[in-house]
């Protein structure tokens, strides 16, 4: 006599279960909605436009032990022509206390929509990039980063900086006509978020480098608005395609109004 309990499903029951499973997955709209869809500031920025998930690449390490300075590169693999170029790029750290990282504005003179910087990530999260082109196209990209040592915003070494407002730039002395010149810029600044206590127990007020502008012979081609989620000692790497030899000028402005400037000559040959 077979006394084993009936644990097997009849074929009909199995089919029913399977169908309802598939249906529930479909209803949740692929429960795997894109990171930007769930993020309010990104949705607001995108508005009614239909964003394209191709065309914009966001590079970040998969795992970062130290969230206080994580390298990020955002790039769009498309030529920058006068009629069609990437006009702005916005970066967000979805789970940071203040998610905005930076916004960049480019002109065709920038030659490449490729910006590298370093960001602060308070915890494991998705980082989102939204780009707009001059024709109104919207591009989106996101990357998940695992941060293993969190709480970076209250640790003193997140803000380590000496010689405040001292800028440094690295520009190739010479570049061939039409070729993009890689420009590295750095300015010493703690980028005080206003979230941490000083030695005396009082909260240190917010003080960050708010904006950066690069010009070539007076023509502005790269502007950045920086926010609290950018790492200390703001580092920006971008490109320029000079038509002829000229002078590059860079200006940083702190939210208190203080400024710092640097310049470099570049020859085209």
């Amino acid at each position: 006599m077979d006394l084993s309990p009936r644990l097997t499903l009849s074929r009909r029951a199995a089919l029913r279960l399977g169908a309802s499973g598939v249906a529930s997955l479909a209803l949740t709209g692929g429960a795997f909605a894109q990171a930007w869809e769930r993020f309010e500031p990104a949705r607001k920025l995108i508005g009614d436009a239909k964003p394209s998930p191709d065309g914009l690449t966001l590079e970040l390490p998969l795992v970062s032990e130290d969230g206080s300075s994580v390298q990020l590169t955002v790039s769009a693999n498309r030529p920058m022509t006068d009629g069609d170029y990437v006009q702005s790029i916005h970066l967000f750290a979805t789970r940071n206390p203040s998610p905005e990282i930076a916004s960049f504005e480019l002109t065709p003179r920038a030659g490449r929509a490729n910006v590298m910087t370093r960001v602060r990530l308070n915890e494991s999260q998705a980082v989102i990039a939204v780009a707009r082109t001059s024709k109104g196209e919207v591009l989106v990209a996101s990357r998940d980063v695992r941060v293993t040592q969190s709480g970076c915003l209250v640790r003193a070494d997140t803000y380590e900086s000496t010689g405040e407002m001292q800028p440094r730039v690295r520009v190739p002395a010479k570049v061939s006509a039409g070729a993009p010149a890689e420009i590295l810029t750095l300015i010493n600044h703690p980028m005080e978020t206003g979230l941490r206590e000083g030695a005396d127990g009082k909260i240190l007020p917010q003080r960050i480098v708010r904006s950066f502008e690069a010009t070539l012979d007076g023509e502005s081609f790269f502007k950045a608005t920086l926010y609290r989620s950018l790492a200390a000692n703001p580092y920006l790497r971008f490109y320029a395609v000079p038509a002829k030899s000229g002078k590059l000028a860079f200006k940083w402005t702190e939210d208190t109004g203080r400024t710092a400037e640097a310049s470099a000559s570049i020859a085209v040959g």
């Binding site: 390490p61 998969l62 032990e65 590295l184 790497r237």
Partner: protein, 348 residues
């Protein structure tokens, strides 16, 4: 070649030298302790002491010359844990004797075909990362938080203790005294003086420590891409190498990973070229369990003590950091407990 890439290649070459020298000369702290305290052969321990003397001397010279600033290393932080440094050292020392060699020795042995070392390395790497950023990490950070110690407000090093005199004078005095004592201990022993292999091992490994500092702090110096000042250490990097192998698409090679790869390949090359490569495994299951436990102890202990026999015993001590003295002392104590006394392990 950017400074970052240059320092990685330098790390790889340093690793090759370490691996080859380790394979050919048999440089090993564990063998040194066994010889010193059990079998009566004092040569290997003196090779280690010679390496330490060279490491301290050349590192302090490079620091005094301004080529590197050792205060930027993790060994000279503002605080250190008076509990975790020695405790980690003891766990590491005990584990090291349990598997007959520390982490770096395991990489060298793996290069000559010793598959027991593969097991040790995997257990070490996983246990280390469990302690640094995994399941044991919250416990570790909590204990580190309540046992943090600092003497004064500067870098926690031996010369800093005597800063009232003058930190440069104090540094020179301490370095010379330490190097002098070590060299006397090393060369007063006739069998060591006669052993060219051990002298060579000590000199080469010792020189690789400041080479590491210079690779990351001088060759690799880049304002725009700051990288941590590190030298040879073999606990976190072993875990990092395992992790890198698994998520290479989303992470970059670090100096430690480059060194670990170099050590393995250097040892492999040396073993193949001298005909000493042969596959070896475990004779019994008990032996495998002992090695797995030893590897785990080394991983946990090394993570707590921020370094291993090389990482703290040579690299950390080369900065004359107080925490490194605690960690290195703990390693010696752990080795002693495993070799003599009530907790001693049966000899292999």
């Amino acid at each position: 070649m950017t400074p970052a890439v240059l320092s990685l290649w330098a790390g790889f070459v340093i690793g090759l030298a370490f691996g080859a020298a380790g394979q050919v000369t048999g440089f090993c702290l564990t063998r040194g302790l066994v010889g010193w305290w059990v079998t009566g052969d004092g040569r290997k321990i003196r090779a280690f002491a010679l390496a330490l003397a060279i490491a301290i001397l050349v590192t302090q010279l490079a620091d005094a010359a301004g080529l590197i600033d050792v205060r930027q290393s993790i060994y000279l932080g503002a605080t250190f844990s008076w509990l975790l440094m020695p405790l980690g050292g003891v766990l590491f020392g005990y584990g090291m004797v349990a598997c007959n060699g520390c982490g770096s020795r395991a990489i060298v042995l793996l290069g000559q075909g010793n598959l027991r070392s593969f097991v040790v390395l995997v257990c070490l790497g996983i246990a280390a990362y469990m302690t640094l950023t995994g399941l044991l990490a919250p416990l570790r950070t909590q204990i580190a938080g309540v046992t943090g110690a600092a003497i004064g407000e500067g870098p926690q090093s031996l010369p800093y203790l005597a800063r009232a005199v003058s930190s440069n004078v104090a540094r020179v005095v301490f370095a010379l005294v330490a190097v002098g004592l070590l060299l006397w201990f090393v060369f007063a022993h006739a069998p060591f003086r006669a052993s060219r292999k051990d002298i060579a091992g000590g000199l080469i490994i010792g020189a690789l420590i400041p080479a590491g500092w210079l690779a990351t702090g001088w060759l690799g110096f880049d304002d725009f891409d700051p990288a941590p000042l590190v030298s040879l250490t073999f606990v976190a990097p072993i875990g990092e190498t395992i992790q890198y192998a698994m998520i290479a698409t989303g992470t970059k090679v670090s100096f430690g990973v480059a060194v670990v790869c170099g050590v393995f390949l250097g040892s492999l090359a040396a073993a193949l070229s001298t005909g000493s490569f042969h596959l070896e495994g475990f004779p019994t299951a008990q032996r495998m369990a002992r090695y797995m436990a030893g590897g785990a102890l080394m991983g946990i202990g090394g993570a707590l003590a921020l370094g291993c026999s090389i990482g703290q015993g040579l690299t950390g001590l080369s900065t004359l950091a107080l925490g490194s003295f605690l960690a290195a002392g703990g390693i010696l104590l752990g080795g002693r407990l495993a070799l003599r006394g009530p907790l001693a392990l049966p000899p292999l």
